[in-house]
Amino acid sequence: LVGCTGTSGTNGSGGGGTAANGLVDFLDYGDFGGGTAPQANYNPYLEATRLGAVDYVFEKLMVYDSFSCTPKPWLATGFQWNDPKTLTFTLRDGVKWNDGKPFSSKDVAFTFDLLKKHQALDVKGIWRYLAAVETPDAKTVTIKFKDPGASTFTLLTEIYIVPEHVWSQQSDPVKFVNAQNPVGTGPMKVKSFNPQQLTIERNPDYWQADKVKVQEIRFHKADAGGAVEQLKLSRGEYDTNAMFVPDIKKAFVDRDPDTNHYWYPPGGSISAYMNLTEAPFNDLAFRKALTTAFDRDQIITKAQLGYVKAASQTGLVVPGQEKWLPQGLADEGRIAFDPAKTDSALTAAGYPKDAQGKRLGKDGKPVKFTFKVPGSYTDWVSAAQIIVQNLKALGFDVALETPNPPTYESDRAVGRYDMLFGVHGGSCNMFRNFSEPLGSDQSAPIGQKAASNFVRWNDPATDKLLEELRLATDEAKQKEAVAGLAKVMTDQVPMIPLWYGAKWFQYQTDKAVGWPDEKNPYAAPGDNVLVLTNLKPAGS
Amino acid sequence: MALLEVRDLSVTYSPRDSAPVRAVDGVSFDVADGEFVGLLGESGSGKSTLGNAILALLDRPAAVSGGSVVFDGTTVTSASEDELRPLRWAKISTVFQSSMNSLNPVITVGAQFADTFAAHGREGDAKHLLELVSLDASVLQRYPHELSGGMKQRVALALALALEPRFVLLDEPTTGLDVVVQRNILDRLRQLQTELGFAVLFISHDLGTVMEMADRVMVMYAGELVEDQPAAAMMRHQLHPYTQGLLGSYADPRASQISVDFIPGRPPNLALRQEGCRFTPRCPVAVDACSTTHPDLLPAGAGTARCLLVEEGQPVDARRARTFVADRTNDTEIEPVLTVRNAVKTYKTNRAVDDVSFDLKPGRVTALVGQSGSGKTTIARLVTGVERPTDGTITFENSVDVGKLRGRKLRSYRRHTQLVFQDPFAALNPTRTVAYALSRPLRNHLKLSAADARERAAELLETVGLSPAAQFLDKLPHQLSGGQRQRVVIARALAPEPKILVADEPISMLDVSIRAEILALLDQLVKDRGIAMLYITHDLLSARLLADNVLVLNQGKVVESGPTLNVIQHAQDPYTQLLLDSIPNPVDTEPWVSTS
């Protein structure tokens, strides 16, 4: 029976992965999205249901290195702000669609118009900001904004450009699955698909085909996070994957330390959100005291298995975004666990402990509140348990509640909570990183659904800084505004960042090398095309 | 050598739950070829167990614990199943006590015949067999559930005769059947037996039937044979006091003067070893030696008997103990308490009760007799307000229209009208004590306090002859014998001091020896308390004993009515005559007169 099992016969690592033409034969990747019973779907705008191949078939005007947040020229060789409301992209020469037709600014304009016509496809909400997209010539695209558009730039670079000659034939592009040989400009083409495996192959006519050293990528269907997938990874069946693996060092790296590697760069901040409309959380001194109350290290080692890093109080993701940090900040804004300090600060702020060791509020009654955590997020639950322990040690009467995720989300949105977890930041769009959690226009009265300002931070100074950031086109001004916002975070403590969510990324270097890692963080793991164009056959 | 020789056979049930029970104890007898032997005995005396032992069909927890059964030279009790197989059915067949359940429900009657023939590699003509028992050949295609009880019994009988056996064991083959149907089958059986010449062991506790059918009769008591005599001789002279008591409870209803006897008490617990004669506690003529010396089955009279007194040659007359003599007067002057006029009850299209009129009078018993399904119970339901008549009126004390009562009014009507149930085993809640059962009507209808109710309950128990009452109050139904239960049921019906008592076949589930006792009790209550009683039965003997008037019911209609003796002695209607003919008649012509 051994070896008859279809997949395992072709799997496995080791040499022999390199074909004579200097290409890696194929690489085994993990999941390709599309649910447990994926159906062919290469409509790049159907984010929820499209398959992972989309990232390799279609391309964008610019590609962000989302680790350091720097844009790289891609279908556009460059861009220029004519004025704060006008942006011009210059398109690359010699780009062809993989059916041989030439790529031009028409396609770009068509793409934007498509999104305008079909709001369901405009997943980035780009037309909230755009006034018009024009094509003065075949190589130029001019984008007109309703308002100064600097803060919208990152969104523009997230739009996949589709061929007009294919898509204009579709009567209902919203339901267009593009299943047969999807036409794109990207480095790979779809080779074959069944619900168990998706194979894409090198596009020899790619505009930078010389940089693509991989002949084929095979994605394998999996229930992400399943124990079996972890075992497969640890047995070396994947050249790269992105999943949670308990005890990764023992389970994966130690099995072949030369080949097996992982890198978990930080993502958005996971913070303790406090309901700022109620006492005692509306008291700055109280909040400030709490910043040292949580044992982040224990959360990281116990609840997060040491895969993550403590978050900076600034809301920025360090070290990736360190250039945005305000001057003179100790330890990049990370705050150490110091319960004694919290204790004395609380006492000083008018929250003493009574004889029984109960923490009293300003009204003289014991402080009692709940901490909510979605019941099915086991790691968050463990983290919450540590937080509750910390708070209890300080004399607070805290109860842990574990609603299910939708209830949790709705409670959070309408402000029906005392304290809970929230996620913010982590993207390359600094404006969004701060406006979403802090902007007063993202808030709503208690009882009504807030868009994203769940703590209900309502501060004119913050709003002013956000407005400056939104309008700023040059980087110095942007930095100034971001530094101001970071100071709001550290001085006003609208929330208490605890740790950065990790971006899972495991890889093997036996067939291909050149994966991004801590030493060479040229891209974040999800920047697929950047990674692909950096891969080289092992030993070359 | 006899066809069947049973020697000193003992069968013991050894259940895990309780002490072992020796249900058959040292039984010996022979059955000769072509002989028709009856086996009589109270319920639980071990008749079926003995039958199963003969058929080698004992199942755990029962096992032969001694003695042997030899059938036609084969020792059945020690033979293996393989050795038995050629014997089974080819030579020895049976009709079970409940032949309703003894046919395989999922295959046709024809298949069950075929099955039987195939098992013995024989050919047979099922149609002919069915003809023998007067059944149509179309029955072969039918499933058991498509047949009536009587038809099933006949199929079972035909099946038993399929391989022309030499011996047929019939274990109460007609219980649960309508009197008329029963008669029909038994006549057929006797006829076939004479024609085909097989031997029969006929088990029953219905002594009228056994006495009429059998050549020889054996009587079992508490696992032992106590008497074995030719039927005719036994009719004339019963040796054992128990047999005397048993036969004393039979009489021919057509006689102008009749009386019946009964044996009080209940049989001993077979799980306990008993010194001496097992009948001693109930025996009216027991002497001191009876409780210490265990008698043997010794020749006496025309057969054998197990009694010390018989052994010593003393005359035994146990019939003096308790006697119930029918002594009914008939006068019309009394004002009726309930009048039924032209009552009709229709179920869908079926007129269950069709234009029935009668009166119930205080201190008088009206009997309602008829075949099964003739509408007797329906009338009882109308009278007690359980059902409403489709047409006609039922008037209580000239004023209350029973047919229109509901809720509270109905409840208060029931203070005056009570029901005695047919089955004393079903009429008492197995989880409730006697005191509870009796106190409910007292508390509800008479509004007595709990303490008063208990006191009154004790009095009621004494009234129905359960004394000392204190001994019974806290018992659960399963701790009482059938007769005792029926008495509790009667006591409960009497509790609210009703004016009308409706008794729906109150003795049909009881052993013959208890029946007379209950009848005597009812009779006395009616007399003492001036209750108007509607007595429902299919048994003319008990109607004759108890009732002043009788209504004969056929298909919902009253076909004959009048003073009981009149109706029975001078039946006009053919249906009444059919009913009368169905009564087993052990002594052919002249009414049986006891000899002493």
Binding site: E47, V123, G125, K175, V177, P405, P406 | R85, V106, A119
Partner: protein
């Protein structure tokens, strides 16, 4: 006829109740499918972009009108067999998705149910036939212990031993990525390989219910008068056991089996999600967790109708197998 009308009435009423329940479930739930979809995309550690939620909401389309007209629309759509578009597999229709999963579930669970039933019934009959012998003890006690092992746990152990350690069988999925679904021998043998472990884990725990049920029924029927009479008739023991014991004892099991067959779609959630098997059970779990209401509603309806039909057939079957059934009382 009356019986048939009654059954049909119950069938329709239940169907209506199931449809209505289906209609209500999404409308009683907190949270928004669009948000659920978006947050699933990002994972729990990523902030939700409201624009994305808005776009997804547009994509899914929101039913218009008041509750009553919505209900009317829903009913008529269901009657037309239009279950809408799956949220998880947009723009594929629910009908398409169910068509994808159905064969897998039917084959895997159908086959194992039938085998479990046959094996369980035979073993149970054997145990009853040899009642209180060693065979009986081995069968009843053995099946008790094996049958009470938690099924999902058993599945994990099987995967660990046979797929991971010994590498005899694939660890999950309906077929390998290398073989494409189609009517080819290669595909079938591949699919068979993949079904071995799930099937085995179902087969280990499957028969116990049938064993015990059959044994108990048969002990009872063998104690009935007709079985005793069969013995008195001198029928061979085996024949008694078969036509008088097993034949009748199996009847309640047959109805149970029909109902179990109807319930297989509902019962496959665990096995399919552990073995990543491409059937309806796993799809249902996914639909529930993704708030894919159209898919969920249709699957629920599908399962309920399956059970209903199975019940209906079981009743009819019972009437065929057991001549005693008085059908008027069967409802």
């Amino acid at each position: 006829m009356r019986y048939f009308l009654r059954r049909a009435g119950f069938f329709l009423a239940t169907l209506w109740a199931a449809i209505t329940l289906n209609f209500l479930i999404p409308r009683l739930q907190p949270g928004d499918p669009a948000e659920a979809i978006v947050s699933r995309l990002g994972g729990q550690s990523q902030a939700i972009d409201p624009a994305q939620v808005e776009a997804v909401r547009k994509m899914l389309g929101t039913p218009g009108g008041n509750l009553l007209t919505q209900y009317g629309d829903y009913l008529s759509a269901v009657l037309r067999g239009d279950f809408g578009i799956s949220y998880t597999y947009f723009p594929y229709t629910v009908t398409h998705m169910i068509g994808q999963g159905l064969p897998w579930t039917l084959i895997l669970v159908g086959v194992t149910q039938v085998v479990s039933f046959v094996v369980g019934t035979l073993l149970g009959a054997w145990a009853a036939y040899r009642r209180n012998s060693r065979v009986d003890s081995v069968i009843t006690l053995g099946s008790t212990f094996v049958g009470t092992l938690p099924f999902f746990w058993l599945a994990l152990v099987l995967i660990y031993v046979f797929a991971i350690t010994l590498n005899w069988f694939p660890s999950g999925g309906g077929y390998g990525g290398g073989s494409n679904p189609g009517w080819t021998w290669l595909f079938f043998s591949d699919a068979f390989q993949h079904s071995v472990l799930p099937a085995v884990s179902l087969l280990i725990v499957g028969p116990i219910g049938w064993i015990i049920g059959m044994r108990n029924n048969m002990v009872q029927t063998l104690g009935e008068d007709y079985a005793r009479l069969a013995r008195a008739k001198g029928l061979p023991r085996r024949r008694i056991a078969l036509t008088y014991g097993a034949r009748i004892a199996v009847l309640p099991n047959v109805t149970g089996f029909a109902i179990a067959l109807g319930g297989i779609l509902g019962g496959t959630v665990l096995v399919e999600s552990i073995f990543n098997y491409p059937g309806l059970g796993r799809m249902m779990l996914e639909a529930v967790s993704n708030r894919d209401y159209p898919l969920m509603q249709a699957l629920f309806l599908f399962i309920t109708v399956g059970v209903l039909i199975a019940n209906f057939l079981a009743d009819l079957l019972y009437g065929v197998l057991d001549p005693r059934v008085r059908r008027e009382e069967a409802v």
